[in-house]
């Protein structure tokens, strides 16, 4: 399960996509719409995506997670308006042992933040900003 959705993400469905009787560890990361940024009240977020490129990028990240960490990986990113406290992205990772699970989850998250062609609009009472991810190697 690797894709975008313009409605609420069903976290359990993403998690269940990585079920495997040989896995001892499952890690589900949710990016969540936060109600503030730098002391400014955020009313909601809104995402837009280049879907034709985003899906291959998610597939590439999942493949890297398998090759580097032996992990099964499912990722769903939401598009359109996202209310505060709703998940914006869900990354589920399963592995036989826990250290690889944390490594793979973090890898997928950082890769997604650096590479996924998705744009985030943070909406305030009096305007909005397009938020650019800080990429570690910049």
């Amino acid at each position: 399960m690797l894709g975008l959705t313009d409605g609420p993400i069903d976290v359990a469905t993403v998690r269940n996509a990585v079920d495997d009787p040989g896995f001892g560890a499952i890690l589900v990361f949710e990016g969540v719409a936060r109600n503030n940024f730098d002391g400014r009240r955020v009313t909601h977020l809104s995402y837009e995506a280049y879907e034709e490129l985003a899906v291959p990028v998610l597939q590439a990240i999942a493949k890297e997670c398998f090759e580097n960490f032996g992990a099964k990986c499912a990722i769903v990113h939401r598009t359109g308006p996202v209310p505060i406290e709703d998940p914006t992205v869900v990354i589920a990772v399963g592995t036989p042992h826990r250290p690889a699970c944390y490594d793979a989850s973090r890898y997928a998250l950082e890769a997604l933040k650096a590479r996924l062609p998705v744009w985030k609009k943070e909406v305030y009472d009096d305007g909005h900003d397009w938020k650019r991810n800080q990429v570690p190697d910049e």
Partner: protein, 78 residues
């Protein structure tokens, strides 16, 4: 002259008020040159990524008539 379709996202889309614009460019134009034909000022200074016909492309790639081009501002997923 070539006619190409340009897909825009986020602040680029807002600046033009359209998700897709159709423009005429000189034969031999690169993606970067097309971008600079459309945007100036702070938007021109953004580190833009390029796609051509739904595949990532280099700024120096030359466009062809009928291409679907996309300009990708810095991403913000997650």
């Amino acid at each position: 002259m070539l006619t190409i379709s340009v897909r825009l996202f986020a602040q680029l889309r807002e600046a033009k008020g359209e998700e897709t614009v159709t423009i005429n460019v000189s034969a031999g134009s690169t993606l970067r040159e097309v971008y600079e034909q459309l945007f100036e000022g702070p938007l021109r200074a953004l580190p833009i990524a390029f796609a051509r016909n739904d595949t990532y492309a280099k700024p120096t790639d030359v466009v062809e008539d009928g291409d679907n081009v996309a300009f990708l501002p810095p991403v913000g997923g997650g």
